[in-house]
């Protein structure tokens, strides 16, 4: 777990971030409250399916209404505030898209090949390893994962007609 270390220069940015978070909560709470009413709140003596979700939504809206003005006034010390640099944003996006690609490719080219590509991509483009290391580790990890999960643990990962 990371703890909230804040730096003075980031205060402005973090306040804006907190306002955004509060607004997201507000919208979420609003949608959920509307939906809950549709499901039927029931009566106090016979609560319906929307009863608890409605209560939770109202709580979210109420808390958001506390959070947003509090952050706008800047009354609290920001708990967040690390600025995401361009490099880390790039890394996060690269990791995110590699995971989506993993899911998309899995049933097309099979577990072994997808795993090798996935590990290779991350090592080379996020980890910054040399091509030699990348190729070797990616192949080794893919084969080891195949042996561990498919052969030993009998997890039914998708395989190509060739059997891997």
């Amino acid at each position: 777990m990371t703890d909230g270390i804040s730096r003075q220069g980031d205060v402005a940015r973090s306040i804006r971030g907190d306002v955004v978070g509060g607004l997201v909560l507000l919208v979420l709470g609003g949608i959920a409250a509307y939906e809950s009413v549709q499901y039927g709140l029931g009566r106090w003596s016979a609560p319906g399916p929307g009863f608890l979700p409605f209560g939770a939504s109202v709580l979210i809206i109420a808390l958001a209404l506390v959070i947003v003005p509090r952050e706008l006034r800047g009354a609290v010390q920001p708990e967040t505030g690390q600025v995401t640099s361009k490099t880390t944003l790039r890394d996060v996006l690269a990791v995110l898209s590699s995971m989506i690609a993993y899911a998309a490719l899995l049933s097309v080219i099979g577990f072994l090949a997808t795993t090798a590509l996935f590990i290779g991509f991350l090592l080379r483009f996020v980890g910054g390893k040399s091509w030699r290391v990348t190729l070797f580790v990616a192949a080794a990890v893919a084969i080891a994962a195949h042996i561990l999960f498919v052969v030993l643990l009998a997890v039914q990962m998708p395989v190509t007609p060739l059997g891997f």
């Binding site: 777990m1 990371t2 703890d3 909230g4 971030g17 955004v20 978070g21 909560l25 979420l28 709470g29 959920a32 939906e35 809950s36 499901y39 039927g40 106090w44 003596s45 016979a46 609560p47 319906g48 399916p49 009863f51 608890l52 979700p53 939770a56 939504s57 979210i60 808390l63 506390v66 959070i67 509090r70 609290v76 920001p78 708990e79 967040t80 690390q82 995401t84 890394d91 996060v92 990791v95 995110l96 995971m99 989506i100 993993y102 899911a103 899995l106 795993t115 996935f118 590990i119 991350l122 090592l123 996020v126 980890g127 910054g128 390893k129 990890v141 994962a145 009998a154 997890v155 990962m157």
Partner: protein, 496 residues
């Protein structure tokens, strides 16, 4: 004491397969404890799908082993490298690392292992005695008591996780919404499914947890620039001296008791216990100014406290079906996936599982005590593995784990989505633990709420006129008022 059950427990735990998985569990736990980027919650979430193929007792023995094993592992890097592998070992860096620099790393690790062993064993013994008693009391709980107990659980977890209490409650409320996704049990009305067929059975909590803890932690770690500078200390004198033992006796005893009671509270857990113990030892010491310069009391107390708390957390889980921490919530989920409904009936319906797990914790603690010192050189090597190699593996395990739950790409999508959500949450100062707890408790909470109101014909007074329920709610209110009281700083944040 229920001797026949205890015997049954040891019979279960001593089966070769269970011994093997207990050993694997505590070793994996130590490894997880040592690696700073990977916590026990993420590790257990990753291994959940693998454990489905095992017998229920074996699965829980393995997963529990990871949890208390991690408490030992986190200590090693705190002492030798000044890098706490686990948040419950953060406070150990203060005096433990100083001791290591003075060449007394072995003594620090030795006393930590001994203290951990004593605390873990005592917690286990008390669990054996009061677990079944508590379960008996809980058999009389009606829906109102359950509802109030859940509220108490959520109150404690919001107060003890770092970050703002308001945000903690917002996360708990979001967790309730996520927990109500799917078909309503009473009326069959689909809620928040938006026409998606896969959501009819609700949101799978395993991919959510793997996303919020495993994947999100990878994103966060990618931000930390460079590798941590590691200054290695040598382990010379491998064992604590007689003088060390004498000085550590009372801190271990106090840490055990303190940690045990804090561990019982839902939401508090071992992190709070270790900080509280350090504060107590410093206050009681005749030389408080020497704390931070290598006082063995500052290692012995907190290290005992975090293990006692880890052990005590099993009491509400096994006797009430209430998880005290995110890790306990995962174990609860594991039981449920094996078709076992946790709750007060667990002791009578599945004695072999409950007592088997309890017995395995004795054995596991013993294994850890024996293995701790000889394996240190190996663990130190593991810390040197660069993160560039670790994070692709963590992600791969998460992907395989999510997919293998029910061989569905939908779960993989859930994993990725919650990885991103968890990352953004952390960036904005929202902690995932209350969300997870609420997500898991919502079915019980909702049942308790709706049934209570039906029984009372619509009067919410039922929650305060029943004494036990009223007591739970009173405690919850007290806990919520705690940070508002003047002169009381939240001790989680202020110590670190």
């Amino acid at each position: 004491m229920q001797w026949s059950n205890i015997l049954l427990g040891f019979e279960t735990a001593a089966q070769p397969i269970n011994l093997l998985f207990c050993l694997i569990g505590v070793l994996l736990g130590q490894l997880v404890g040592i690696l700073p980027g990977l916590g026990p919650a993420a590790a257990i979430a990753i291994l959940l799908p693998v454990s489905f193929t095992m017998a229920p007792a074996t699965a829980i023995i393995l997963l529990a082993g990871i949890y208390y094993g991690a408490q030992y592992g986190g200590t090693i890097t705190s002492v030798l490298l000044n890098v706490p592998g686990e948040s419950s070992s953060v406070v150990t860096t203060l005096d433990g690392y100083q001791m290591a620099q003075q060449g007394r790393g072995g003594a620090a690790l030795g006393i930590a292992a001994i203290g951990s062993f004593i605390a873990g064993t005592v917690a286990n013994l008390v669990l054996m005695v009061i677990g079944p008693l508590l379960a008996d009391v809980a058999l009389d709980f009606g829906p109102a008591e359950y509802f109030s107990l859940m509220i108490l659980g959520m109150a404690t977890i919001t107060i003890f996780t770092s970050g703002s209490v308001v945000k903690g409650w917002a996360m708990a409320a979001i967790g309730v919404l996520l927990g109500s996704v799917g078909k309503d049990i009473i009326s069959g009305v689909p809620r928040f499914t938006f026409g998606v067929r896969e959501l009819m059975d609700g949101i799978g909590f395993v991919p959510v947890v793997m996303g919020l803890f495993g994947v999100a932690d990878v994103f966060l770690s990618l931000e930390e620039e460079g590798e941590p500078t590691v200054i290695k200390a040598k382990v010379r004198d491998a064992l604590p001296s007689g003088e060390d033992m004498r000085r550590s006796g009372w801190p271990i005893a106090r840490g055990t008791v303190l940690g045990f009671f804090l561990g019982l509270l839902p939401g508090a857990g071992s992190v709070v216990a270790s900080f509280a113990s350090y504060a107590v030892e410093k206050r009681l010491s005749p030389t408080p100014e020497k704390f931070g310069t290598g006082m063995i009391e500052g290692v012995a107390g907190p290290e005992s406290a975090n293990n006692a708390a880890a052990g005590a957390g099993f009491i509400p889980l096994l006797s009430l079906g209430i998880p005290a921490t995110a890790v306990m919530a995962l174990l609860l989920g594991a039981l449920m996936i094996h078709g076992i409904q946790p709750g007060p009936m667990l002791f009578s319906l599945h004695p072999e599982i409950v007592w088997g797990v309890v017995a395995s914790m004795y054995i596991g603690n013993l294994m850890l005590l024996i293995l701790n010192l000889p394996l240190i050189p190996l663990w130190v090597k593991c810390v040197e593995v660069p993160y560039a190699y670790m994070f692709p593996l963590i992600l791969l395990f998460c992907l395989i784990g999510a997919f293998s739950l029910q061989y569905s790409l939908f779960d993989v999508g859930t994993l990725i989505a919650f990885g991103l959500i968890g990352y953004l949450m952390k960036k904005l100062g929202y902690e995932p633990a209350p969300l997870i707890l609420a997500l898991i408790l919502t079915p019980l909470l909702e049942n308790g709420l709706r049934q209570s109101l039906m029984i009372s014909q619509g009067s919410p007074m039922i929650f305060v006129t029943r004494p036990i329920s009223a007591a739970f709610l009173f405690l919850a209110a007290l806990i919520l008022l705690l940070p508002i009281l003047p002169g009381r700083r939240r001790f989680v944040g202020s110590e670190s």
